[in-house]
């Protein structure tokens, strides 16, 4: 894997920010886009655009082909059994909300349980909180180990025959920990529950095989994996999707409409109301091509190496607290620099051209668990190098110096 050659394919990375070559370490929030994805979107608008499914003309067919072609690419990328198991959504959040609003609300009743963890992103927490409130089900949390990981013994204890839904993130966007999804899925199934996976932080970095994981639903966003914003997908086992009611009405999801009754199309169309983000799907397809050309295994290896390098480098620095487990982590390092507030850290890093995230990362319950109000986070992707992490470390030393004088 030639990182320099990969980096050169990302036009946005070839710039200076505040007088320094940009080091972009915020890919967990949103990744940058390679030339091939940008070009695929332009080309679609320049030559093929039309609405999908309805146009009885050449462009209509081309647009439909491009959109459905992207669905097939996503299906094969996740190793889904059928393209119909892929529902295009705006992203992970919409996908998880769809499962919570349609599946969970129709299945759960008082006395049932929904199981999640305290490390969930707000998008995989609030939909379940609301579904529990609406149905009378109990929301239960699998506790975290002191280092922020999950223990299977705790998973066994938390999931019971009353559990109807288990929803867990594959990779934590704060701790970087990779959760044992396959094992959790097996425990969920043994208790008769369905397994939902928040794949927002895993799909870009790990090889995903939904059949091997045997999860029932899997949600992800395109923009974190070199694709455009506004597109993502929900994978759902066909037998489950077929039992679900749509939550948005209009457009392509319609089969037959009468004055007082209507019927819906088959899955996945019944969940794709309105004109979909066709160019987004095309861009996502191009991103999948790009990632597959490099190879997800290669990307995974590179990122684990980077995460370990960053973890070692930062933990060796005086006055830094690094959160999360020391091993089995991908893609990111979350930390605090002494008493300096992470916003102040991020501003000084930015002045050195180093872009990191600072705040609660949409994980307020996890911040409380870590006993902090906010953290800084450096997240990596296939275009990052060891030198980028060295630049981060140098900029952190400068930050310490700057605030050392200022705060004392």
């Amino acid at each position: 894997m030639n990182i320099q050659a990969i980096k050169e394919q990302f036009p946005i990375l070839q710039q200076e920010v505040n007088g320094h070559p940009l080091v972009y370490l915020d890919s967990a929030a949103s990744s940058q886009k390679p030339r091939s994805v940008i070009d695929a979107i332009s080309r679609y608008y320049e030559t093929d655009h039309s609405n999908v499914h309805r146009g009885v003309h050449t462009l209509g067919s081309r647009a439909t082909e491009a959109y459905e072609g992207a669905r097939e690419k996503v299906a094969s990328f996740l190793n889904a059994a059928h393209p119909e198991e892929i529902v295009f959504t705006r992203g992970t959040t919409t996908a998880l909300n769809l499962v919570a609003s349609s599946y969970a609300r129709s299945v759960c009743k008082e006395g049932d349980e929904i199981v999640i963890t305290p490390m969930e992103h707000h998008s995989n927490l609030i939909p379940w909180q609301q579904a529990a409130k609406a149905t009378g089900a109990t929301l239960k949390y699998i506790p975290l180990q002191p280092d922020g990981s999950l223990s299977l013994a705790d998973v066994e204890k938390t999931i019971t025959p009353n559990t109807k839904v288990v929803s867990v993130t594959y990779v934590s966007n704060v701790l970087g920990v990779v959760n044992p999804i396959k094992e959790i899925t097996a425990i969920a199934h043994r208790n008769g529950a369905v397994m939902v996976v928040d794949g927002a932080q895993s799909t870009a970095h790990l090889k995903i095989d939904v059949q091997d994981l045997d999860c029932d639903f899997y949600a992800f966003s395109g923009h974190k994996m070199c694709g455009p914003t506004g597109i993502g997908a929900l994978y759902g086992k066909k037998s489950l999707l077929e039992k679900m009611e749509p939550i948005e009405y209009g457009g392509e999801m319609i089969d037959f409409v009468d004055l007082y009754e209507s019927t819906w199309k088959d899955v996945p169309y019944r969940f794709e109301g309105g004109t979909p983000i066709i160019a987004g799907a095309v861009g996502l397809g191009a991103a999948i091509d790009f990632l597959q050309q490099i190879g997800l295994d290669e990307i995974d290896k590179h990122e684990r190496r980077l995460a370990a390098y960053a973890y070692d480098k930062l933990t060796a620095m005086d006055g830094i607290t690094v959160y999360g487990p020391s091993s089995n982590r991908v893609g990111l390092v979350t930390f605090n620099l002494g008493d300096i507030h992470p916003h102040d850290v991020a501003t000084v890093l930015d002045s050195e051209g180093v872009a990191v995230r600072a705040g609660h990362h949409c994980c307020q319950p996890l911040m409380r668990w870590l006993n902090v109000s906010a953290t800084a986070r450096a997240s990596f992707y296939l275009y990052n190098t060891e030198e980028d992490i060295d630049r981060l470390a140098d900029a952190l030393l400068k930050t310490k110096e700057f605030f050392g004088h200022a705060i004392g």
Binding site: D344, D350, G359, S373, A374, A406, I407
Partner: protein
């Protein structure tokens, strides 16, 4: 991007030695405000008598900019009528937009003018002032 424009000595002094940090137990007007995008939190308490802010205190968690801004604002607002306090909040908005604004009531606030060059940090600086506006609105 000059960091010294943002982190002026007087700002760091307010961060290190915040004025009016704490709570009041008498009948104070209490406003809780979050900045949900970054996790900053402030609780502002105002002791109000006949439309005049007699005392102001704050607690909260946040970066140097949000906490020093709160410290300065509470100093500035003490003894001011609602009208005067609102006028100051307006002036502070102007300062954040890069417009020249003088705070003869409490000149140290002008040190925050550099925040205007750091758009990502304007929300930090305005949190306490938004709490003040909310408190006054509640009383009117």
């Amino acid at each position: 991007m000059q960091l010294d424009d943002l982190y002026r000595r007087v700002i760091m002094d307010h961060y290190k030695n915040p004025r009016n940090r704490g709570t009041m137990d008498n009948e104070a007007v209490t406003i809780n405000l979050n900045n949900p995008t970054c996790g900053d939190r402030i609780q502002l308490q105002l002791q109000v008598e006949e439309g005049v802010v007699k005392d102001a205190r704050f607690t909260g968690e946040g970066c140097s900019i949000s906490m020093s801004s709160a410290s300065m604002m509470t100093e500035a607002v003490k003894g001011k009528t609602f009208g005067e306090a609102q006028a100051m909040a307006e002036k502070f908005s102007a300062l954040m937009k890069g417009e020249p604004a003088e705070f003869e009531e409490y000149e140290e606030i002008e040190a925050l003018s550099g925040v205007n060059k750091f758009p990502a940090r304007i929300k930090c600086a305005t949190l306490a002032w938004n709490a003040l506006r909310k408190g006054i609105e509640q009383q009117q």
